[in-house]
């Protein structure tokens, strides 16, 4: 890993599960064309959690227990460098590919 001696920064993306109603995504999808952005599709709104954590292997457990509501949300965990680039990533057990 790149950041030996530094605490890794982790990014968690949390989205409504496929098939679950996403009222926010629906509202944004309706609004964008009216603002002059017609060619938009498949809009979804989710949450972003970023944190510094020593033991990255714990993040999945954090997601399962607190950060995501796995009944209705999928999550995806990525390690980020300080300039925001991805280093690696893992996804929740049954994250769909959208």
């Amino acid at each position: 890993m790149k950041y030996i001696g530094r605490v890794p920064r982790v990014r968690v993306l949390i989205r409504p599960k496929e098939g679950i109603l996403d009222p926010q995504g629906k509202a944004v999808a309706r609004a964008l064309p009216a603002l002059g952005f017609p060619a938009v599709d498949n809009v979804h709104v989710g949450r972003l959690v970023e944190l510094d954590v020593e033991d990255v292997s714990q993040v999945e457990a954090m997601c399962e227990r607190l950060l995501a509501n796995t009944l209705i949300e999928d999550y995806e965990v990525a390690l980020v460098s300080p300039d925001g680039e991805h280093q690696s990533q893992t996804a929740g057990p049954d994250a769909p590919r959208r």
């Binding site: 409504p16 599960k17 496929e18 098939g19 679950i20 109603l21 996403d22 009222p23 629906k26 509202a27 309706r30 509501n69 009944l71 209705i72 049954d94 769909p96």
Partner: protein, 727 residues
């Protein structure tokens, strides 16, 4: 589809055989999924219908009784108030925020489905003890979900109740009641009529939400590997419902509809077949016309989906364009999905291909009704509550009072109800904690009082008398605000009725409910039944939740709970015989539940309600509060805290034990305050005992020669204990 498919869907083998006999062949997947839902307890009331028929459903002010989406009572000048309570227990246990939110959404749709504008919501909640992390989680999220939906849609949440008892640990209860306002002549029914008329589905698109039991079909048909086809939690979208509400009311106001119906449990299946059954007609539906959120849904999935925020209406063919234009103005999707026929069959098509054909009657009316086999238990059904205070604490009136004020069943509900908008609509004359019932201004210039009640522990102790008490407590709350009951709704939350002891609880409770309603001359306008509330830990306390709407002619004279004037006299009023058995104090010290509650003289209690109501309406009382959980002293403390004024109490000699006098519970008692003359006048109509004076900044209590003082600040700290649960 075979017997085993039917059993997997929750039907019995006999029920399956009955279906085969009625339709003369084996049902296919679409048909069986529709039957499994319509013949479920939830839709058919097969274990409770015979008992419910014993409830009184007539009254001079009744406008709409049980059977429609909500009941309604007349409040004069051409206006009616619609109301109903409903449970959303299981979805809330799975996902408390969305479960509670969609519970509110569902009961609101019931109210605007009859053409009434929803004006208020109340909620009735039961959780395990807050010492359990899960109970705290359920509480926090259920309250947030109720707030989210009601606040966002702009319907005031004006009251409710919450109890914490161990038997609800595995099975929380989330009941919501909605109130609506409607011009009586504009009430609309759900009976489909007019062969050739069109069936328009409007609102949200249909997804795989809440495909509960029928998920078995999904896995059978689609293969277990296809995880994305699994049924999903219903997500509430209050914004969609707000548009749906305004759109529905505008459609009605323009006179465009023949019938209107919401989509609730069992989605399109139950809404359409019930409309057809009531109108004695047939229906054709093409599922491919239903707008879908996910393109690849099977016909049976479309028929049973419980996606929220959808309505179904019937209009004449000439009106379709206008109906769709109104939908468009409110940015609500609207689509013709079928029409009315004279076949008295449900014909389900998939893009023109017939995929289901069921006689409406078979689906809706031929469901077998079961007789219960009640048997009174000969051993206690529930373990004694775990003691949370010592015998010494319970025996000392001052520390017992503090413990009671802190108790989760008594502490101030402010941390909950502050999360609800109680004001929107500009009708709220009495907000939570201002009076024992919420009071709302009506367009006639008069007002209504509303309350919801039901102490499960008392019903567990004595199902008949406990249910009578629930009705009386609700009416007592109304009386304290000055309201006279017009109608009652109820939600019966019980365990598995196929078990004899649960059947006994249910039978006895419904008998109590009926007797109490008859004794008060209050009709039951509707309600809801939620059975099979049992987790690993056994059945819940039997919990009939009672909601009542009453009227009061002059909102200026709506009653108040809190003391309001220094030097007022304080009195105990009514035929009150306090008993510690089954009380909150008994629970705190870990006493087992009694096997019986004291007999109730309902006529005397009714007379007390009338006396209190008359005095409140005449503006002669500064405060009125019924004695409930925690007994007399708790009631006095609550009036003191809510009014911000102390009291000096002097209870003379009596042969009743001091603890029982101070903290015993029972029905028929009130604490009132007012000018000494006014109390004397009230005492001519009802038993009345002056016990003290309003004033100071403490509760200064002398009972049987012993005195203690509790400063209001200390009482207030104890009473704020629920705040810790939301920290």
């Amino acid at each position: 589809m075979s017997r085993s498919d039917a059993v997997a869907l929750g039907l019995t083998e006999d029920e399956y055989d009955g279906i085969v006999q009625i339709i003369g062949r084996q049902p296919n997947a679409v048909e069986l999924s529709m039957f499994s839902l319509m013949w479920s307890e939830h839709c058919s009331y097969k274990h409770s219908k015979k008992l419910l028929r014993t409830l009184p459903v007539e009254g001079p002010r009744l406008v709409l009784g049980p059977g429609e989406n909500a009941g309604a009572v007349d409040i004069g000048e051409g206006w009616s108030v619609a109301f109903k309570v409903e449970s959303h227990n299981h979805p809330s246990a799975v996902e408390p925020f969305q479960g509670a939110a969609t519970g509110v959404g569902g009961i609101l749709r019931d109210v605007f489905a009859i053409g009434a504008r929803p004006i208020a919501v109340l909620d009735s909640l039961r959780f395990g003890e807050p010492t359990s992390e899960r109970s705290r989680y359920l509480l926090e999220h259920a309250v947030a979900g109720i707030g989210h939906y009601g606040n966002s849609i702009g319907v005031a949440n004006v009251g409710g109740e919450v109890y914490f008892e161990a038997p609800y640990e595995q099975n929380c209860l989330v009941n919501a009641m909605a109130i609506g306002l409607v011009r009586t002549e504009e009430l609309i029914k759900s009976a489909a009529a007019g062969v050739g008329n069109q069936l328009v589905l409007f609102g949200a698109a249909t997804g795989r939400d809440g495909i509960g039991g029928a998920s078995v079909l999904a896995s059978a048909e689609l293969g277990d590997a296809d995880a994305s086809k699994r049924p999903t939690v219903q997500i509430g979208d209050p914004f969609e419902e707000k548009k749906l509400l305004e759109c529905s009311l505008e459609l009605l106001q323009r006179g465009l509809l023949v019938a209107l119906q919401d989509l609730g449990a069992a989605g399109l299946t139950s809404s359409s077949s019930e409309m057809a059954s009531k109108g004695e007609v047939g229906l054709e539906i093409d599922v491919r016309k239903v707008p879908l959120r996910e393109a690849d849904m099977e016909p049976f999935e479309i028929m049973v989906s419980e996606s929220q925020e959808r309505m179904l209406c019937v209009c004449t063919p000439e009106r379709v364009a206008e109906v769709l234009a109104v939908c468009e103005r409110w940015e609500v999707g609207g689509t013709v999905i079928g029409s009315i026929t004279d076949t008295r069959h449900m014909h389900i098509f998939d893009d023109g291909v017939l995929v289901g054909d069921i006689p409406v009657e078979a689906l809706v009316d031929d469901v077998p009704l079961y007789d219960l086999e009640p048997a009174a238990p000969d051993a206690p059904l529930y373990p004694a509550p775990v003691a949370t205070i010592s015998a010494d604490q319970a025996g000392d009136p001052r520390s017992a009072l503090i413990a009671l004020l802190r108790s989760p069943n008594i502490a101030s509900r402010k941390p909950l109800f502050e999360q609800y908008d109680c004001l929107v609509g500009s009708r709220t004359v009495r907000r939570p904690e201002q009076a024992d019932a919420a009071v709302l201004l009506m367009p006639t210039g008069s007002a209504i009082a509303i309350s919801i009640d039901g102490n499960g522990r008392r019903v567990a102790s004595d199902p008949y008398r406990g249910a009578v008490e629930a009705v009386l407590e609700c009416a007592a709350n109304l009386a304290c605000a000055g309201g006279e009951p017009l109608g009652l709704t109820n939600c019966l939350n019980f365990g598995n009725p196929e078990k004899p002891h649960i059947a006994w609880q249910l039978t006895e409770a419904i008998r109590g409910l009926g007797d109490a309603c008859r004794a008060l001359d209050v009709p039951v306008v509707g309600g809801n039944v939620s059975l099979y509330n049992e987790g690993g830990g056994g059945p819940i306390y039997p919990t009939p939740v009672v909601g009542m709407v009453g009227e009061l002619p002059d909102p200026l004279h709506a009653g108040r709970t809190g003391f309001a004037r220094e030097d007022d006299a304080i009195a105990v009023v009514g035929p009150f015989t306090p008993r510690l058995a089954g009380s909150e104090l008994a629970k705190l010290r870990g006493d087992a539940l009694p096997t019986q509650l004291p007999e109730i003289d309902v006529a005397a209690v009714r007379a007390a309600h009338e006396a209190i109501r008359g005095a409140v309406r005449a503006g002669r009382l500064s405060s009125a509060h019924d004695i409930a959980e925690g007994g007399l002293l708790t009631a006095v403390a609550e009036s003191a805290l809510l009014g911000g004024m102390g009291a000096v109490l002097e209870l003379g000699e009596s042969d009743v034990d001091a603890l029982e006098r101070l903290f015993g519970e029972g029905t028929g008692g009130f604490v009132v305050s007012g000018a000494p003359d006014a109390l004397r006048a009230l005492g001519e109509h009802v038993a009345l005992d002056v016990i003290g004076t309003v004033g100071g900044d403490a509760l200064d209590v002398t009972v049987a020669g012993e005195s203690f003082v509790l400063r209001l600040d200390d009482a207030r700290n104890a009473h704020a204990a629920l705040g810790e649960l939301f920290a």
